[in-house]
């Protein structure tokens, strides 16, 4: 009994003496969902998009914007973030970060210095997307109000992930991907670009969500090719799509193909695709075959075709396959020749399959990669034609 008493006392003492150092009440946090890093003369300008819970949580919009944007300038990222408290009554809380915007200047110089804090900090989760702002500053991009989602940063995050899924020329690159890529031999990084469209200054006001057609928007375009940590250039939409095909990230996309009779086009909607990269050694030199199995539906037809005809359908299939192959070929060539940066991770594949040879090539991999022979095989399969069989046209369906 006496012992129990002493124990209880000690535990209560321990509880009351200790504890509560790391305590953060919910209403002491400035939940940051978007972070922007811009290069300035001084160092970095950090922009945070912080949720204003009073507005964000209420179901009836109060009229004032749901988030606020703050920025500070300092030599390093961490300093700038901490300096934020001079303007904000709460501590910046980064666990719920959903998007990180970097301006192109930083990307051109190398991103590692700017990102080290995010790699290191325990609060930061590795699942948010990283995007490069192509025309303008990260600060501007974060300041644009968006109509659909309440949080502009959430909006960016969702639309990037959605477009990766159904459109394909974008890549939702997370911090984790970057961490892995920067650490892996024979694999270079990519980061998607973001363009600001319209009048950015107008977009910062409430007007942007007051009218149906917002004066300022953002749109994702192109994938940025990195060499080590430096941005070397951009891929256009079709090459970006090729990148996604090769890395097997395409879940769904659309592709237009010219009709067999050269009059008009038809559009294929991709529903499933699978990629296999086989590293090969030909004559002692690295080569690779990229095998892509695609399942697609016919989604839109402008041509005069009888899609009930087996031969016609076969022709349609072949043309589509041809088109896809060309697209991918072009994309790979472009990356090989223009940037010579192995964003497809062929090198890693060689490392895994031919570790001995890889040791010979690893130091000069850039050279080997740019002249590597990549064979693209597309296995195309048409699954369906939609609700109607042929284009609506009198007299065509017999």
């Amino acid at each position: 009994m006496k012992k129990t008493g002493i124990f209880t006392m000690l535990i209560i003492m321990a509880l009351s003496i200790t504890g509560c150092w790391s305590r953060k009440e919910l209403n002491e946090l400035a939940v940051t969902i978007g972070l922007g890093i811009d290069k300035t003369e001084q160092g970095y300008r950090i922009t945070t998009q912080v949720v204003a819970p009073r507005q964000a949580g209420s179901s009836s919009g109060t009229g004032s914007p749901p988030a606020l944007v703050m920025s500070t300038e300092e030599k390093t990222v961490m300093e700038a973030l901490r300096k934020m408290t001079t303007k904000l009554p709460r501590k910046i809380y980064l666990s719920h970060l959903s998007i990180l915007l970097i301006d192109e200047a930083i990307a051109r110089e190398g991103v590692l210095n700017a990102l080290d804090f995010l790699f290191r900090d325990h609060e930061v989760r590795p699942n948010f997307d990283v995007v490069i702002v192509r025309n303008g500053s990260a600060h501007d991009a974060l300041s644009i109000l968006t109509p659909l989602e309440q949080m502009p940063a959430r909006d960016m995050f969702d639309s990037l992930n959605e477009s990766e899924k159904v459109w394909a020329p974008t890549a939702a690159v997370t911090l984790l991907d970057l961490m892995k890529w920067f650490n892996t031999e024979g694999q270079q990084a990519v980061i998607t670009g973001l363009n600001l469209v319209g009048d950015v200054e107008k977009g910062k006001g409430k007007d942007n969500i007051a009218v149906l057609d917002s004066p300022a928007k953002f749109e994702y375009s192109g994938i940025g090719v990195m060499k080590d940590q430096i941005l070397v250039g951009w891929l256009n939409d079709s090459d970006s799509k090729a990148y996604n095909y090769v890395t097997g990230k395409v879940k769904s996309t659309v592709g237009k193909v010219e009709c067999p009779d050269k009059e008009g086009q038809y559009v294929m909607e991709l529903v499933h695709s699978e990629t296999k990269i086989k590293p090969l050694i030909r004559n002692g030199e690295p080569a690779a075959s990229v095998e892509i199995a695609v399942e697609a539906n016919i989604a839109e037809v402008e041509c005069k075709l009888n899609l009930n005809d087996r031969k016609v359908l076969e022709q349609v299939r072949e043309l589509a396959a041809q088109k896809t192959k060309e697209l991918i070929d072009h994309g790979i060539k472009e990356v090989q020749h223009r940037y010579a940066s192995d964003i497809f991770g062929f090198g890693q594949k060689f490392h895994q399959k031919y570790p001995k040879e890889w040791k010979k090539w690893r130091n000069e991999w850039r050279r080997y990669f740019s002249k590597m022979d990549v064979e693209v095989i597309v296995k195309y399969e048409i699954k369906g034609r939609g609700r109607i069989v042929n284009p609506i046209q009198k007299g065509l369906v017999e």
Binding site: F7, T18, W21, P126, K353
Partner: protein
Amino acid sequence: MTSRELCMLLTLSYWGSALLGLPSVLIGVSGSDAWLPILLGTGFQFLLIPVFTGIFKQMNGNTVGQYLNRILGRWIGKGLLAVYLFFVPFQILVLTLRSLGDFTSTDLYIETPPAAIYIIILFAMVYCLHKGISAVAKSTEITFPIAGLLLVVLLLSLLHGAEWNRLLPFLDNGAGPVLHGTTMFIGYPNSEIALSLFLAPFIQSKQTYRKALWQSSILTGLGLLFLTIMVTVVLGENLPPNIPYASQFAAKTVTVGGFYERIETAVTVIWFIVMFYRMIFTFYICAHGLADLFGLKQHFAFLIPLALLCIPLAMLVWDNPSVTAEITAVWPTGVIFFNILLPLSWLILGKIKGRPVSK
């Protein structure tokens, strides 16, 4: 103590700090083949089991102290026991405590001083040991399934982000790194099988003891094997060496369908549970061994002094985190000597001295 309880207590204690730290260390040494040392090490552990069942038989229900006194004579026996207690269980206790503090202060409670973390867990352990080691062993029947279930959930969740060809290339740098990894794994946590001798007086028969050793070796091996494989396939071989708490980081990367995420608490909870058992196990051995050393029946008197001693030691044991790497490098050698070679010599000595007179 039943065989189940012993097995679960040992497994939890082996898992101890290994669940969080081992994948990172092993991948750092053996690269993408990190799973191989675990297989080899577990196999090696199977070979050790007969040694310990042999000693168990020789002990004949005595405590380790009494056994050593018998085979080595009173003074050498006591001396050796004291040295062993200091170098193995006590060090494990202090280092485990320290690594708990390191983890909480880097990843969970940055501002909380580690001393507070130590105090609370030491109080908990002193309380539990007052209830007796049997109660602690019994409680594993409740906590082990929970820890095991969480581990399985974690492993299954990691499947989503797995890229299996990250396990390639096989034996990239030859067998050297794998063997190095194997010695590391044998040292930590495999060789701690020797600590189970201290529970021998609670075990009824050699069969029970042997069964528990086998099962705990298999469970430990499987748990760590799958975890290391999953960490490798999720994070690759290059990232984990740079992230000391790789399994927790791997859990942070899990996102399935945009809503099943943020499950790293599972790792944290498992880890706190296993750390608790690892520490209470070594704590008990220290206290009980001391009681044995001074010829006392009860170990309760040593609990609070030991606990109080641990706090400053854990804080002083190293001055900066990079010492961890050095300790990790030296640790296996010492531990293999104390946990494998010494018991082996006891066994041989015991055999020479012949069967003990039954009490």
